[in-house]
Symmetry: C2
Subunit: 188 residues, 2 copies
DNA sequence: CCACGACTACTCATATTTGAGCAGTCGTGT
DNA sequence: ACACGACTGCTCAAATATGAGTAGTCGTGG
């Protein structure tokens, strides 16, 4: 429902003050952003233009640093702060599971060879384990200016990955049965 | 990365044979679809048109049942089956956490009153608990034609919600500290 | 010196999603 | 009879996302 790009832009401008596009992007990246946002250039600049057109942010000035490309600095407006609060409230209210494509893929995998499927799952487990390790490190070596909110976000990621790992284990255990099941269907 | 709508349409047509748009939608709904897909009419029909234009599916015929609106029945093509396999493989490979807007909202909530935030979180816990109960029921009273894959998907949902609940508990516990933290910043 | 990869900022065409809406049918109650 | 809400199928404009590309700068190794 709520548009994360808008929330991100408004939130960042409100929190850190006026910024230009690339700065927003980098700020997000440094802030372990893969966790809560995934703003690619296209959607970011699109959002900036639209937000400016709506008056939720405004272009303050255009700078040029040496000969690098010119950049436009935006600031949030009063109207924008109001919208920010509304968006945030909306985001805090929607508590549901976002559909995971892997479920869809699994539901469509009746015909897939068990060995191959098992291979994919093993790979997934490896990837997830690596990520879990990264987030555990997060918890220990705190950032310079790591806030409690940042901790919570990292912890959220860790817990979610643990759940994924547990589920993957369960899938691997039941994989034999899944194969039987699709055989039941092909030979009635 | 992978487009879930495409995967859904191709997969459903491959699995259940030729169907028209509304039928796809309903089939998904009956199949506890809120779990792995959330195809609204707009994106579904858009995808159907595009897939047909690309030759991955083809319009078989146009039926009319009584005086109800006419419907176009689509079938997957050979080309489409190839694409389906590719999409499925891609979906099975991407094992990462999809960003959750609540993290974003939390990161932007330094200025939010603790009581209000706590209220939102309590509501979320209520919602999540209700959903967890629904999925537990899923596990017990099996569907008529519930496959192992369906079970796994439901179990996935349950585990994910458990993780969410655990995290919410953790957030509520640390909420006091979060408030302190933002005070540190406003009065240096 | 120069090629090369990485960074800086942003643009643009195309793909996709959203959300409302349309035009009719059906069943149920009153 | 008839109002009402729910269902049937699908369309459409507007919002948003994607992914590649542009044009130049900078640092580094050979």
């Amino acid at each position: 429902m709520v548009n994360p790009t808008r929330l991100f832009v408004l939130g960042a401008l409100a929190k850190r003050g006026p910024m230009y596009g690339h700065q927003l992007r980098r700020g997000a990246r440094l802030d372990r952003a893969e966790l809560w946002s995934d703003v690619r250039p296209g959607s970011l600049y699109g959002a900036l233009h639209r937000l400016a057109a709506e008056g939720l942010i405004e272009a303050l000035r255009t700078e040029q640093d040496g000969r690098l490309p010119a950049r436009t600095v935006y600031a949030i407006t009063g109207e924008g702060r109001r919208e920010l609060k509304a968006l945030r409230a909306e985001a805090l209210q929607e508590a549901g599971l976002r559909p995971d494509p892997v479920d869809l893929a699994l539901a469509m995998s009746g015909d897939l060879d068990e060995g191959i499927l098992r291979g994919y799952l093993d790979d997934r487990v490896r990837l997830l384990t690596a990520q879990a390790a990264r987030f555990a490190r997060h918890r220990d070596r705190a950032w310079p200016d790591q806030t409690v909110a940042d901790d919570l976000v990292a912890e959220h990621a860790r817990l979610r990955i643990e759940a994924e790992l547990a589920w993957h284990q369960l899938v691997l255990d039941r994989l034999g049965k899944l194969a039987d099941d699709s055989e039941d269907r092909t030979r009635p």
